[in-house]
Point group: C2
Chain length 209, copies 2
Amino acid sequence: MPELRVHNLTVSVDGYAAGPRQRLEQPLGEGFGSMHEWMFAAMRDLADGKGGVDVEYVERSKENIGATIMGRNMFGPQRGPWEDESWTGWWGPNPPFHNDVFVHTHHLRPSVVMEGGTTFHFTDEPVEAVLARAFEAAAGKDVQLGGGAATVQQYLRAGLVDEMHCAVVPRLLCRGERLFDNLGDGIDGYRVAELVGSPAAAHVRLVRR
Amino acid sequence: MPELRVHNLTVSVDGYAAGPRQRLEQPLGEGFGSMHEWMFAAMRDLADGKGGVDVEYVERSKENIGATIMGRNMFGPQRGPWEDESWTGWWGPNPPFHNDVFVHTHHLRPSVVMEGGTTFHFTDEPVEAVLARAFEAAAGKDVQLGGGAATVQQYLRAGLVDEMHCAVVPRLLCRGERLFDNLGDGIDGYRVAELVGSPAAAHVRLVRR
Ligand SMILES: NC(=O)c1ccc[n+]([C@@H]2O[C@H](COP(=O)([O-])OP(=O)(O)OC[C@H]3O[C@@H](n4cnc5c(N)ncnc54)[C@H](OP(=O)(O)O)[C@@H]3O)[C@@H](O)[C@H]2O)c1
Ligand SMILES: NC(=O)c1ccc[n+]([C@@H]2O[C@H](COP(=O)([O-])OP(=O)(O)OC[C@H]3O[C@@H](n4cnc5c(N)ncnc54)[C@H](OP(=O)(O)O)[C@@H]3O)[C@@H](O)[C@H]2O)c1
C-alpha cells in the first residue's frame, strides 16, 4: 500500500517548526535562520558521494515519492486572498518536486505547471479528499507531506500519516509554530521507532503504534 | 561563582516532563513509565565501573552539588493543604540528596531532617529568595534544581538557571506537563551548547547565551 510520509521536518529543541512573522525575506520566520543547515550539508555530501547519518535520512526522503502535499504558508509568504498570482513558490522555475503538488488553501487559484514535471494544484478540500487525489496522482508511489506544522498536524490528527521523520537541531527558537500542538488524541496512534544522533541533529522517526 | 544547574531532566520527543494525573501509584503521571530507564541504566553502569555517554551525563549531575531545589509536586503526590505530614518524599529514609532540599509550596510545614544529611525545607518565598538560601546552604558549591517543569520554568523565566541538561527519550507522551512552556522571553537568554546522541537518549545542554 502506498504511504503518506513526512521527511526532514526540522524542529528546534523547544519544538518549533517555524519562527514567528514568516515573510518574503524570511520564509521560515524569525530566528529559524540556519536550522536547515544539517539538511543542506547532507545534500552536498550526497552529491559528493559521501555518506553519514544525515545523508541516509535525506536519501530516504527522495525514494519512491509520486506526489506532494503542503500548506499554503509553506508555498509562499502571501496570506489571505492572492494579491499576486505570479507567485509560483520559493523554488524557482524548476522546483525540486517533479510531480503534482497539492497546496491546501481557502483561496483557490488555477493550477500552475512548472518546468521539470512539477504542477501546483490549489485545493480547499478536506485532508482525506486531498490525500486521495495525491495517491491517485502518485500512481502507486508514496505521497510526501512537506509541511508546515499546521498542515502536518491535521494529517496526524486524522491518523493519515504513515511515517514521520523529524530532525531536532541544537537551537532554541522560543516562539513560532509548534509541531506537537493541536494534535488532540491523534498523536496517541504513533510511537517513536527511531532516535538517532548525528553531530548536527537528533533524528526521530514516528510510525503508527 | 556557584551555579544553579539542572540535570537529567527527561522529556519525551513531544516535549513533556511529566504525564497527566500524577499520583501515588504513578509519581510521574500516566504514560511516563520507563522514560527514566536511560538514567537507571546509566546509574547501574556507573556503579559497575562502565562508561558511555549516558554515564557521563549522570556523573556530571553528581559533581559539586551542595543544595537542592524542587517543586512540591516533585516532592510528593499530595496537592493542596497537607493531609498527611508523615509524607517525607519518594526516596525513603535516606534520600539521595545528602544536603538541604528546598521545596517550593504555598502550604508550609516544619522542616524534616532525614538520614544521610538530607533536610527538607518548605518555603513559599519567591525563587530569588529561595535560591539565595540554597546558595548559602551550599556553602560555595553549586545548587541543583531538580524539577518539575513548573518550577524549572520559573527559574528559566527569571534567568537564574546557569546550565540545564535534558535527555530527550524516544517516547511520545501526548499530554502532561510541557517543559518548554510558560517561559515568556526568559528562554531567549539561553542557547543549546550540546546535542549528543546515545542509543537511549538525545542529550541537550542549555547554557546562557
Ligand atoms: N521546519 C521545517 O522543516 C519546515 C517544513 C516545511 C515548512 N516549514 C515552514 O513552516 C511555515 C509554514 O507552516 P505553517 O504551520 O505556518 O503553515 P502551513 O501548514 O504551511 O499552511 C497553513 C495554511 O494552509 C492553508 N490550509 C491548511 N489546511 C487547510 C485546509 N484543510 N483547508 C484549507 N486551507 C488549509 C491555510 O491557508 P489559507 O489562509 O490560504 O486558507 C493555512 O493557514 C513556513 O515558514 C515554512 O517555511 C518548515
Ligand atoms: N522528567 C523529569 O526528569 C522530571 C524531573 C523532576 C520531576 N518530574 C516530575 O514532574 C512532576 C512535577 O512537576 P510539575 O511541573 O507538575 O510541578 P513541580 O514544579 O514539581 O511543583 C509545582 C508546585 O510547586 C509549588 N510551587 C512552585 N513554585 C512555587 C512558588 N514560587 N511559590 C510557592 N509554591 C510554588 C506549587 O505547589 P503548592 O500547591 O504546594 O503551592 C506548585 O503547584 C512530577 O510528576 C515529577 O515526578 C519529572
